[in-house]
Amino acid sequence: MADTETTVQAQELDGELAATAREELGDERILEMLRTMVLLRRFEHHAGRAYQRRKIQGFCHLYSGQEAVAVGSLSAATMEDYIVSHYREHGHALARGMEPKAVMAELFGKVTGCAGGKGGSMHLYDVERRFMGGWGIVGGQIALGNGMAFAAKYREEEAVCIAYLGDGAVHQGIVHETLNMAQVWGLPLIAIVENNEYAMGTALERVSAVTDLEKKALAYDMAAETVDGQDVFAVYDAVKRARDRAVAGEGPTWMDIHTYRYYGHSMTDPATYRTREEVDEVKDLKDPIVRLSNWMIAEGMATQEEVDAIDDEMEELVKECVAFADESDQPDPSALTADVYVEWNADID
């Protein structure tokens, strides 16, 4: 059942980028990256199952297949950096180091959740880690990210804002308003398009006059690149360079990171707009976890047994998260009217 055991024919990682990353990060960090990617995969597997048992309700968007984007990009960030994301953000939250139990409990709508059960799957927060939220209006979060980048520059912090958006968000007016201002003012914004080819059920080429999304930055004279989002080191390398530029005052970067989601858009989406063969081909050839673990085994950094052990360990950890979430209490009814305002000198009704 472990996804890490599937195939021998997966594409190799970019060897040069991997070697550079190994020098910069060291073997221990890279092992940790693998562990995090496996955690994300197991977490979503169990989130999906809990949804089917109605332990999780509402909208739930799973991240599986895209692990290298979250883990690669956040490996290049510091804890001073602001992170802001969309509603497919379980992976970003976990890769930022948020407590998996608190994330699962939030999905379960429990008081022990990272937003006390008031946010749910789409609205995870950990402001201490500068994880500034999952937001649910397509494209809206990039404007918030621009404001956070503005704040970092205003206060002369050595920090950037990494803002995630999907390929579906690229056409929203807010994205273009934001990119223009970020470039005019040289804000330290790294806009990461997680291009998983489908905006809900709509394939990119059906709705985009330009399918090479890197080109969107041309109109703003902005640094941009296209990145293999199934190669964790390619993502790490691109974001690290963008971050270096941003903190040096050289402005924002736009990234079209090519990735793929294994599940449907949300838990209620049977994904009839794509073929089973298409999904299987990505899983066989481009799975980001298999590609990383294959490389680590080839490099002698880990054995297959060790990789399997990580999978087992994360499976156990996530099961504990599910049990924790299941056993936790729902929020007290008094939470209903709490935190609408910081200060409010009137009754609610």
């Binding site: 404007a143 621009n146 201002m181």
Partner: protein, 326 residues
């Protein structure tokens, strides 16, 4: 006491708060080099420089969102909307983001932003530039809404809005920018959520705010002279939260209420105020709650038609007389 114009009172509030708190910055269309479309930000670029007084491209949604994000990161943005007609474009960032951040994050985030600018009719500006849209904001939990009527209130309320830890929508009547009134030299604040009795009277309470305070004051004077009716003029100043105690106090004295607002009648702030009065103070009322509004049509351009649409001294006087069974 010295008299200064409404716009200059706002200008003083901005300058004082920017001086006091380095996290306060002003952003919007034409706020810097042009000195503001209505000159509210006159001289601020010279005083505080381009880092803190920032001209934007014409992207209301974009710079509102930037402001919301900056507020979530701990800054205190003052975002100027040239007029609130254009702020409609920014509603997503205001309603879906600013108003939700604190609640969805279980109190981890605060959004201390002020979104301010001109609202209401300005005189022959036609349908797209003459709207009173405060109900859009007052409807939304998570937002606070302030609308001053005098230079003194404008200054003290804006300073309070800037210091408030929550998102504040601050709407300035376009026709009041040149209006002069007494403003103290020394520093003062007008509290959030507190109205003021602008004129005391025992016969009928007229609840109103912003520009209409002046129309109602004129009507009160006329009613005193023509019919000997003593109108109490209650200026809400803050529309959310509502100063219910002040309303209760006044209505228990007068037993008659008219709600006057510049906005349209249906689903408006005035409708909610009337609803509150009718339910909370039913036993104290001697007459149905009266209402005066802009006519329920888009604003026409023609010079003779616009005054027919807006609440007038005559229509207010008529409503008060009806409430007093005169």
């Amino acid at each position: 006491m010295r008299e200064i114009a409404f716009r200059d009172a706002l200008n003083e509030a901005l300058a004082e708060e920017m001086e006091r708190d380095p996290d306060v910055f002003l952003m919007g269309e034409e706020v810097a080099e042009y000195n503001g479309a209505y000159k509210v930000s006159k001289g601020l670029l010279d005083q505080f420089g381009p880092r803190r007084v920032i001209d934007t491209p014409i992207v209301e949604l974009g710079f509102a969102g930037l402001g919301v994000g900056a507020a979530l990161a701990g800054l205190k943005p003052v975002i100027e909307m040239m007029t609130f007609n254009f702020a409609i474009l920014a509603l997503d960032q205001v309603v879906n983001h600013a108003a939700k951040a604190r609640y969805m994050s279980n109190g981890q985030l605060s959004c201390p932003i002020v979104i301010r600018g001109a609202g209401g009719a300005g005189g022959s500006l036609a349908a797209q530039h003459s709207q009173s849209l405060e109900a859009h904001y007052a409807h939304v939990p998570g937002l606070k809404v302030m609308m001053p009527a005098t230079p003194k209130d404008a200054k003290g309320m804006l300073k309070t809005a800037i210091r408030d830890p929550d998102p504040v929508i601050f709407i300035e009547s376009e026709v009041l920018y040149g209006y002069k009134g007494e403003v103290p030299e020394e520093e003062y604040l007008i509290p959030m959520g507190k109205g003021e009795i602008k004129r005391e009277g025992g016969d009928c309470t007229v609840i109103t705010w912003s520009r209409m305070v002046h129309t109602v004051m004129d009507a009160a004077e006329e009613l005193k002279n023509s019919d000997g009716v003593d109108v109490e003029v209650l200026d809400l100043r803050t529309l959310r939260p509502l100063d219910k105690d002040l309303i209760r106090e006044s209505v228990k004295k007068t037993n008659r209420v008219v709600v006057v607002e510049e906005a349209w009648p249906w689903a408006s702030v005035g409708a909610s105020v009337a609803d509150f009065v009718a339910r909370d103070l039913f036993d104290w009322l001697d007459a149905p709650v009266g209402r005066v509004n802009q006519r329920d049509v888009p604003m026409p351009y023609a010079f003779n038609l616009e005054p027919l649409s807006l609440p007038s001294v005559e229509r207010v006087a008529e409503a008060v007389k009806k409430a007093c069974y005169l």
